[in-house]
């Protein structure tokens, strides 16, 4: 059984979210919820997922929510009584179907459960010989199911296009204001001296850590997606403390808007090269003469593509939101 | 050759539409097409008389169910009537349209050609699906003709026209077709029918009733409203609707379904036609009464048509050789008679711009040919010898007698009396009443005279045709016996 305390904490936080009308608190609780879920994932041996959930749920999503709340206000109306009934009926019905299903579910942790029988054993037993990386999640993600991951990059890219269409690229303000040559700190910034000091200390290691996660994904938990999210978080931190303009000077949105596409194209390029070399799309084994080397290069390249796209998309979206809130 | 029969009017239509700049070329084009088509249709007679049924499958939109054309005696007769009268209608139409300087003449002749193609398609349809397709094509192609004038009246009439015809055909006819297909797995027109042995009397009656009422063009009451509504159209169109293509296509459809889908024997055995027969009997009596009350000449003729059509339906439902032969003859005879009457009505309008019967006093002396032709046409419609109409009425009475329907005989005779009552007074007014005073002044100035030659010649030809058909009655009878190989 999963850790009882964690489960109870989850229930409590969700209950609080339902009851809360102050959205800022609700968002922070959602962030807490994500951290708790990440802990559960950790307990369940899903280290990569835990890593991602923490970075996304507690990091990126929360930042997006906060940015949105800064625009739309933090208070919401309580749900009127009469509007509770219909959702309750639907939710109870759905819940009953799920409970009904749960009666036939394999017991938790059962090693003989069907999930562990059919497809998974090949990954566990042969991936080292067929693909290479010790982190089996990376092998499956990048090679066996590399096409899914390609689609996943497509999803991120689509979200990027959508946000850009709706909110603009975050370039409006920089084009109006001439860029100040030196990052003269604003009035409010002087009060954040301590923060600034801390940030200086933290941001560089965060970015370096992101690079480490990027290249280390073969061996330990991590990979392009996590690296991209962490890299973006580092930039968020920078922007929150120094202001958006310096961040945008660092990474001009106009140029940054190219990078999601570049990452996706890099991913696809690997696949197309393998097609040109006579294999199927994303068959890394044909990239070079030795299949195992080919797998290795292929995975490195596509993970880089994933990282570039994810980081660039997250930063772009952040810029788009923050432009609107000012 | 079948392709040619169908393609020729279409091709003619296209040619006509390209000649909008030069009216003379255009009208010659129409005429040549019409004549060629008539000759082409006549060309089928040798092989049909020899007992062959030339067949052609155009396409197969639904697996096992194609757009199929077959030439058989019944359809060939209808095609002959339609294509033959088309020539006259074209000549007449040219005169009428020019005489009245109507606008959009090119569109008019284009739609005309498409309508004829559709009529030929109906005549040669090899199965119910094909029949339905061309039936709808005819509806759609005649719609712009009905609304030709483009004013509010024309639009209202057009809407009624389209509304009733589409709703009945989709609601009843298509449904019955699909049902038939579901029951029998085929829709081919076959001798002796396809339903026999597949359905009981009850279903057969429902199906036949749906087919009859679904054929809105047959103007069975209460779905006859479109016909008077379509009176807003120019007269050549009325002639086309009433005589050449539309209503004839309707009754022909019912006839064909009775003969080739149900089979005469099957209807007779099961009595499936009872409802339809009495509906038709009601229609033919009621329509004649309504016609009596109409003062507008074209409206009176329209209700006359409603009544006359029901003769055909009655004949089909009698389900015996005399009935079917009478019904088929009625198609040809009524076509010839009614087209004469409409040509006359149009000629009167072109010459005097008069539309009401009460205004016709004394015109007979000024327009002798027109009124003489009207008289001949009337006699044919009534069914008096020596006109072609006499034959069809005779066979229908025979058929009723064979079927033992004495009430029906009574109704048919009553209706004939009513025909006399509403048609002959028109001629009487023309010849035996003096011109009203204000018109007399015009007349002395010779402003009232016969309509243009283009109008008068066709109506004289059709009037002659009414007489000639009486002489050919025997030949037609022999030909129609092809339908009953056993008897």
């Amino acid at each position: 059984m999963i850790n009882m305390v964690l489960l109870m904490l989850l229930l409590a936080s969700v209950y609080a979210i339902i009851r809360l009308d102050r959205l800022l608190t609700a968002v922070l609780l959602t962030s807490l919820f994500s951290v708790l879920v990440a802990s559960i994932f950790m307990v369940l041996d899903a280290v990569d997922v835990a890593f991602t959930e923490a970075a996304v749920g507690a990091g990126v999503s929360t930042i997006f929510f906060l940015a949105a709340l800064a625009i739309v206000g933090r208070q919401c109306k309580p749900t009127p009584r009469r509007k509770i009934i219909a959702p309750l009926i639907v939710v109870s019905a759905t819940g009953c179907v799920l409970l009904y299903a749960s009666l036939d579910m394999p017991r938790f942790g059962e090693p003989l459960a069907p999930v562990h029988q059919h497809v998974a054993p090949r990954y566990l037993n042969d991936s080292a010989a067929e693909v290479g990386p010790p982190n089996i999640v990376t092998s499956v993600l990048a090679s066996y199911r590399g096409y899914d991951t390609f689609g996943e990059v497509g999803v991120v890219f689509t979200a990027f296009i959508g946000v850009l269409m709706l909110l603009g690229a975050g370039t409006r303000r920089t084009s109006i204001e001439p860029p100040t040559p030196t990052g003269a700190p604003k009035e409010s910034m002087r009060k954040k001296v301590v923060l600034k000091e801390v940030a200086d200390l933290v941001i560089a290691p965060v970015l370096i850590f992101a690079l480490y996660v990027q290249w280390h994904g073969d061996f330990g938990p991590g990979g392009g997606f996590q690296a991209g999210v962490i890299f973006a978080s580092g930039i968020f931190l920078y922007a929150l403390i120094y202001g958006i303009e310096p961040a945008q000077r660092l990474l001009p949105p106009r140029r940054l808007a190219y990078f999601p596409a570049i990452g996706l194209l890099l991913y696809a390029a690997v696949g197309i090269i393998s097609m040109l070399r006579g294999g199927n799309f994303l068959n890394y084994s044909v990239l070079v003469n030795d299949p195992l080397h080919g797998q290795h290069y292929g995975i490195l390249a596509i993970e880089l593509g994933v990282g570039i796209t994810v980081a660039a998309v997250m930063i772009n979206i952040f810029f788009s939101f923050s432009e609107r809130s000012l | 050759m079948l392709i040619a029969a169908l393609g020729l009017p279409l091709l003619g239509g296209v040619l006509v539409s390209m000649q909008s700049q030069s009216p003379n070329t255009r009208d010659i084009c129409s005429l040549v097409t019409a004549v060629l088509l008539f000759l082409l249709v006549l060309g089928f007679y040798p092989s049909v008389l020899a007992g062959n049924n030339p067949t052609l499958v155009l396409a197969e939109p639904i697996a096992g169910l194609g757009l199929k054309l077959t030439v058989e005696p019944l359809g060939l007769l209808f095609a002959t009537v339609a294509s033959g009268l088309w020539i006259l209608t074209t000549i007449y139409g040219v005169g009428y349209m020019r005489g009245n300087s109507e606008s959009n003449q090119t569109r008019f002749f284009f739609c005309f050609a498409i309508s004829i193609a559709a009529a030929i398609g109906i005549a040669f349809a090899g199965n119910l699906l094909t029949l339905f397709v061309f039936y709808e094509m005819l509806t759609l192609a005649t719609y712009p003709l009905v609304t030709h004038k483009g004013n509010a009246d024309a639009r209202r009439g057009g809407r009624t026209y389209l509304g009733i015809l589409l709703v009945t055909s989709i609601g009843f006819f298509l449904f019955a077709t699909l049902w038939t297909y579901a029951i029998t797995g085929t829709l081919d027109f076959r001798e002796g029918g396809i339903l026999s042995g597949h359905v009981g009397p009850g279903t057969a009656m429902i199906l036949l009733t749906m087919f009859a009422f679904g054929t809105g063009k047959a103007a069975l009451m209460p779905f006859h409203r479109w016909l008077p509504a379509a009176m807003v159209a120019p007269t050549p169109v009325s002639a086309l609707l009433h005589a050449v293509a539309v209503v004839k296509a309707g009754v022909f459809t019912i006839l064909k379904i009775s003969v080739y889908i149900f089979g005469v024997d099957f209807i007779a055995e099961t009595g499936a036609g009872t409802i339809v027969m009495w509906a038709a009997a009601f229609t033919l009596t009621a329509a004649s009464f309504v016609a009596l009350t109409k003062d507008n000449l074209k409206a009176r003729l329209a209700y006359s048509t409603v009544g006359q059509l029901s003769y055909v339906i009655v004949g089909a439902m009698l389900a015996n050789a005399a009935g079917i032969i009478g019904a088929t003859m009625q198609i040809a005879m009524h076509a010839m008679g009614k087209i004469t009457l409409f040509f006359c009505a149009g000629a009167i309008y072109v010459a005097t711009h008069k539309t009401e019967i009460s205004q016709l006093d004394g015109l007979g002396h000024k327009m002798p040919f027109t009124f003489a032709a009207f008289f001949i046409g009337s006699l044919s419609i009534i069914g008096l010898p020596p006109m072609g109409g006499a034959w069809s009425k005779w066979f229908l009475l025979m058929g009723s007698a064979d079927a033992g329907q004495w009430v029906l005989i009574g109704l048919l005779l009553l209706s004939s009396l009513l025909n006399i009552a509403y048609l002959l007074p028109i001629v009487g007014r023309g010849f035996f009443r003096p011109l009203p005073a204000d018109d007399a002044a015009h007349a002395s100035a010779n402003t009232i005279q016969e309509a243009p030659l283009n109008c008068v010649v066709p109506l004289c030809v059709t009037a002659t045709g009414c007489v000639a058909l009486f002489a050919f009655g025997g030949a037609i009878y022999d030909y129609l016996l092809l339908l009953f190989p056993k008897t």
């Binding site: 394999p106 979200a159 | 939109p61 639904i62 709808e136 609601g171 699909l178 297909y181």
Partner: protein, 492 residues
């Protein structure tokens, strides 16, 4: 090369999308987008040529054999749907350029085209994949791009429509995710063919039954099966003009394809229809959907909303065809997917041309437009006849099969109801045509002229296709018939 076609058809639009997003000149982006759509269409035809007659292609992504890797599976059904998506997408985008011009600033055009291409690519992806989870991934790409496309409508209500769709769509997608999780939980595989082998033995397992329920509800949301259709009318009505044409043609059809695939191939005929009796649910719902939607359409005063409601009704026909569970019904459903896509895309496109000229889709603003824009309105009329189901148009063929399907079951009242609903279509299409031809034109629209050929030609292509496929039905009803027989397990 030829064996790479399944990947190529997908990659063409998917790779053109990021490149488009990088091109700042909207015109160049349009050329690229249109070219990639047409090439994909050509590739789709190539695929159909390969599977014609009932063959199947399997393409192993990454070279990994299924069920370990992801496989693309192409048979006649998926090839037909891919043709539907690509050809209609190509036609609509050819017209798109004109219609976008007055509305958006130029450098945003590129993004719009990119979103459009992503949508096309993801719909292809959903159709060709043989992996259950992969369906989810591409479904999300298509959903996200659709939300973005709809939100770009000129009216602010487009935003609300898009948001509602986003919420309902995400719930639907999550339901599908739950369902896939359940299937995986009891079988250990995600490959659809593999699932099909393993699921029958587990038909009494409650997890499988629940997964079936979640899947049906999730996809029904996407297909807009009554009563889960609520997002559709507003989404179609407020989306940018040409977007509606594309979405109406493809998005719901692909979802329906997914439903058919899973009901018949993955869960299996026996489980779906004999054990779970899904037909008992779908038949009444689709009938109610047809009647209510057609009735609502009749009372609309906005042409775009009218057509949107008509779409709900027409989807009802397709679902009904599936639920009838006989060859004729299933043939009708699949053929109607194609035919309706073609007809509705054409109708929305023609309507877009008119809206482009009069800046409104309200019926009273379209008064007299038939005389101002005769060619556009003529195309609209031809397509409208197809929607009603007049003979010699594509709509007739599918309705014929559907009613045959009802009669094959001996359900005469149902057949009568279908005929009745065709008459309702006659009324609501007649309403538009009547207004356009027979009402006097508004004075402020007296100067309205015919639209440029860029839109007119695609409109007429749709109209002529609607007639062509009413006569030559080898591609539509022919394929649909073969597919229906193989789905029903009838060997021909």
């Amino acid at each position: 090369m030829i064996e790479q076609l399944p990947a190529i058809v997908l990659l063409l639009p998917l790779l053109a999308a990021p490149i488009c997003s990088m091109i700042h000149n909207g015109d160049y982006a349009w050329y690229l987008a249109a070219a990639s759509c047409w090439l994909a269409a050509a590739a789709a035809v190539g695929l159909m040529a390969q599977v014609w007659g009932g063959h199947t292609i399997s393409y192993h992504m990454g070279g990994w054999p299924p069920p370990w890797g992801i496989e693309l599976v192409i048979d006649e059904l998926s090839a037909l749907v891919v043709i539907l998506v690509t050809v209609f997408a190509a036609l609509v985008i050819s017209a798109l350029r004109e219609s976008l011009r007055p509305k958006m600033r130029k450098h945003r055009h590129s993004l719009y085209y990119a979103a459009y291409l992503l949508c096309v690519a993801s719909l292809i992806g959903i159709t060709v994949t043989g992996d259950a989870f992969n369906v989810f991934v591409f479904l999300e790409i298509s959903s996200l791009s659709t939300y973005a496309l709809i939100a770009r409508g000129r009216d602010r209500r487009a935003l609300i429509a898009s948001f509602r769709y986003l919420v309902m769509g995400t719930i639907g997608a999550t339901f599908i995710l739950i369902s896939i999780g359940f299937m995986y939980m009891v079988t250990g595989t995600l490959n659809m063919a593999d699932l099909a082998e393993r699921l029958p033995a587990l038909s009494d397992n409650r997890v499988v039954q629940a997964s079936f329920a979640f899947f049906t509800v999730g996809v029904a949301l996407k297909v807009a099966i009554f009563p889960l259709h609520l997002w559709l009318p507003n989404a179609y009505a407020y989306a940018p003009k040409a977007t509606t044409a594309f979405l109406a043609a493809t998005a719901t059809k692909v979802s329906l394809y997914v439903l058919i695939r899973f009901l018949f191939d993955v869960y299996g005929l026996e489980f779906s229809f004999q054990q779970m009796r899904i037909d008992l649910l779908l038949i009444p719902l689709s009938i109610a959907g047809i009647l209510i939607a057609s009735l609502t359409a009749i009372f609309q005063t906005d042409a775009k909303k009218l057509l949107a409601w008509s779409s709900v009704g027409q989807l009802g026909y397709m679902v009904l065809g599936v639920a009838l569970l006989n060859t004729a019904g299933l043939t009708a459903a699949i053929a109607h997917m194609f035919n309706h896509a073609m007809i509705k895309a054409g109708l929305f496109l023609a309507l877009a041309a008119m809206i482009y000229r009069v800046s409104s889709s309200r019926l009273d603003d379209l008064a007299g437009i038939g005389r101002q824009m005769p060619l556009t309105m003529a195309a609209f009329t031809v397509l409208g006849l197809g929607l009603i189901g007049v003979p010699l148009t594509a709509g007739f063929v599918s309705k014929w099969y559907l009613i045959s399907g009802a009669l094959d079951k001996g359900w005469v009242p149902l057949a009568a109801m279908l005929i009745g609903s065709s008459l309702m279509a006659l009324i609501y299409i007649g309403k538009i045509i009547d207004v356009a031809y027979f009402k006097p034109c508004k004075p402020e629209h007296a100067e309205v002229r015919e639209i440029s050929p860029t839109i007119l030609i695609p409109c007429w292509v749709f109209a002529l296709m609607s007639i062509y496929f009413g006569i030559d039905t080898r591609l539509t009803a022919g394929v649909a018939g073969r597919v229906a027989e193989s789905l029903l397990g009838i060997s021909s």
